[in-house]
């Protein structure tokens, strides 16, 4: 198993599946989703253009696997930021949001891919599992916040999760498109930190009544 140490075997690469995923990652980073090509991916892996079909049904299958891996890294990014933050729900939410945006800015092409449902097999088991895991990182602190304040939970149900998720998701997309940069001299991370912070303090200061 593992890879054949016999140098360059024309046949039976040994771990072509992993090699293709690595090639796909670098190709995606270089050319973006639109410039992604199955044949170029095979070329980078040093293999014929029909080889990937034996490991992934088609280009969609390959990109689906790439997207699943990216979701896992998104989860990690959010998780890491939360670990550095204080334990209260608001700080945890701030960390999760910043982690979300940090991943998007760090791997823009992967981030695009993950939400391009027409390019990816949304019914894939691994992909949807990784997707759910990622968003749990954001939803758990929201639930914790509501647990602290029952009135808020009753009044707003799961609105807040959707709200914060929309916020960081939209910010990431708009910033990557270069549509918010000119609005501020702040760098992306600082701007994101303030946008999330302002939202959370507003929501947090809005616990009672008022709606």
């Amino acid at each position: 198993m593992a890879r054949t140490p016999s140098g360059s075997n024309a046949y039976h690469h040994g771990d072509l599946r992993s090699a293709l995923l690595a090639a796909a990652d670098s190709l995606l980073e270089d050319r973006g989703v639109e410039g992604f090509t199955l044949r170029e991916c095979a070329r980078r892996a040093g293999v014929s253009h029909a080889a990937p079909a034996h490991h992934f049904k088609d280009v969609r299958g390959l990109l689906t696997a790439v997207a699943a891996g990216a979701f896992d890294r998104l989860t990690t990014s959010m998780h890491d930021r939360k670990a550095l933050a204080p334990g209260d729900p608001l700080s945890q939410l701030q960390g999760a949001g910043e982690g979300y945006i940090a991943f998007a800015l760090g791997e823009p092409q992967h981030f695009y891919l993950m939400f391009r449902c027409s390019v990816v097999n949304t019914e894939d088991e691994a992909l949807s599992a990784s997707g759910r895991a990622a968003f749990l990182e954001l939803e758990r602190p929201v639930a914790a916040l509501h647990a602290v304040d029952d009135a808020m939970a009753d009044a707003n149900g799961n609105i807040d999760a959707v709200l914060l998720w929309s916020l960081v998701h939209g910010f990431a997309h708009l910033y990557l498109d270069g549509r918010v940069g000119r609005y501020s001299e702040l760098d992306a991370a600082t701007l994101a930190e303030r946008v999330i912070g302002r939202t959370l303090t507003a929501l947090g200061g809005h616990l009672p009544a008022k709606l």
Copy 2:
């Protein structure tokens, strides 16, 4: 000028540019950005596959024009909603946000296209003008809100515009991806209304100090 009334002239369609734009609109709606094809577009316009080149440099040029038109309709959608709302800045913002999302849900494929910078010529003059006009519909009420409350303007600068824009943009994308539907039995419009409403009341109730 205008179109030749002489029925089906093989040559000199008369208004092929408009016909191609119409064909592109319907094709985009049917197949999405990924399924969009210049040849199929020409087919729908009843013209050879090389004809579009005389009116649009390439497929990117055609899609750029389509995107510009879509931005104009986005502007209209926001403008119309604001016209129906009360005149106070918060209500205007609520209307603009709902109009933004209403457009996205009504023309999802066009909405996708507008923000797919790798498929569109972002340096196109008409496109960027239409884009700026659309976002002004959202930014003007924010400025009005800050004019009412100077302290807020000083403290938050243009953060609020980025915040609200990110919110509606992210919500639209996530809802279209089917990622927020299962979180609520509410239909999209109602959910959007509540998300925006909750954000605005939180921000509005957060005028003084607190940061």
